[in-house]
């Protein structure tokens, strides 16, 4: 994919490295000529020094031909403005903006811009870590379902995966065992020390937690 990254701070430079390692064609834009110093020497993409809100700079970055754009400058305002323009004016298919203020993020989400609020994510994650739970949340799957991690409880050791799935509200997605992760069959026997990744309906989370505790 052809990807444009606006802003080469910590997130921008990290994204450039990550995405170019995965074979994507990266163009990065930052107004600060010193930003290039933050980029790993292995980076093979293009770097443009310029104002990310300047029409000509965006055209030079070939925004209209790009497949995706990440707006990750230090300014929330710049990120949401340029993300909206990328979508509406240049019809970039995939656009994401980094936003610090969770309240602005919420409004822009409603306006159709995918925002990533590291502050909101950090608050939720830290709150989860502090309020102890047997089920470690890994990802939210659209509000109604969650991906959680749990160690195999003694009760289930030696029993098949289907014993857990009989609830109808829990699905065993993967099992990590001895440094290896695989997709279990209904008949796969759970062993001591297994780490289970479970997809669980939000409504059934408490019941699952109780079952794993017992």
């Amino acid at each position: 994919m052809r990807i444009i990254i606006l802003g080469c701070g910590r997130i921008g430079a990290g994204l450039m490295q990550h995405l170019s390692l995965h074979g994507h064609d990266i163009t990065a834009v930052d107004p600060d000529p010193r930003a290039a110093a933050r980029i790993a020497p292995s980076f093979r993409g293009r770097m443009i020094v310029g104002d990310v809100l300047d029409h000509q700079v965006l055209l030079d970055a070939q925004i209209a031909q790009s497949d995706a754009l990440a707006a990750v400058t230090a300014s929330d305002d710049v990120n949401v403005v340029v993300a909206r323009l990328a979508r509406q004016v240049f019809h970039v298919p995939r656009v994401a903006a980094r936003v610090y203020n969770p309240r602005t993020a919420e409004v822009y989400h409603r306006l159709g811009i995918q925002t990533v609020s590291s502050v909101a994510w950090g608050i939720n994650r830290i709150a989860e870590l502090l309020s102890y739970s047997e089920l470690e949340p890994v990802a939210s799957l659209g509000g109604e379902a969650e991906l959680v991690a749990a160690s195999a409880p003694a009760l289930l050791v030696g029993r098949p995966v289907s014993a857990l799935a009989t609830l109808g509200e829990v699905h065993v997605a993967t099992i990590s065992r001895g440094g290896r992760t695989f997709l279990p069959q209904p008949g796969t026997i759970i062993e001591a020390g297994d780490l289970l990744y479970l997809v669980v309906l939000a409504a059934a989370k408490d019941r699952l937690a109780a079952l794993l505790r017992s």
């Binding site: 029409h55 305002d77 710049v78 403005v81 309240r103 602005t104 306006l111």
Partner: protein, 137 residues
């Protein structure tokens, strides 16, 4: 009419004074508390709200839902654009006006971004000066 001005620097406070003397009710949102004195001197009857005008909660507490016009006149173009698009698309304000600081940014000030009227100060000034210069020449 109820006018909500975001940005209480020289432009915003002067604008507040003008609108107020034309008989409008005026509220000014400004992030720097130091600007409060300037606003009170130039527009004594205007309400002052301390806060970030791009924060939806601050806009609501300043009465954005009942404003007839929102004027985003801060010194940062991206801030003015965020305010205009929130005013139009999140709060359905009937009319929005935004200040363009950098002429290279004027391309973004469109109805699609929630801006009804963009005022490009460099462009306005340059045209006026050109007129004066050419008249004398």
């Amino acid at each position: 009419m109820h006018m909500l001005i975001i940005g209480g620097g020289l432009v915003g406070s002067y604008l507040a004074g003008l609108l107020q003397s034309d008989g409008h009710s005026v509220t000014v949102i400004e992030a720097r508390e130091a600007a409060k004195g300037l606003i009170h001197r130039t527009a004594p009857g205007a309400s002052f709200v301390l806060g970030d005008g791009t924060d939806p909660f601050v806009l609501e507490s300043a009465g954005v839902r009942t404003a007839d016009v929102v004027a985003a006149v801060t010194g940062a173009d991206e801030t003015n654009l965020v305010i205009a698009s929130l005013a139009r698309f999140a709060f359905s304000v009937p009319r929005t006006v935004a200040r363009v600081n950098n002429p290279h940014h004027s391309w973004m000030f469109t109805p699609m971004m929630g801006v009804d009227e963009a005022l490009n100060q460099a462009d306005v000034m340059a045209h006026l000066i050109a007129q004066v210069v050419e008249r004398q020449g």
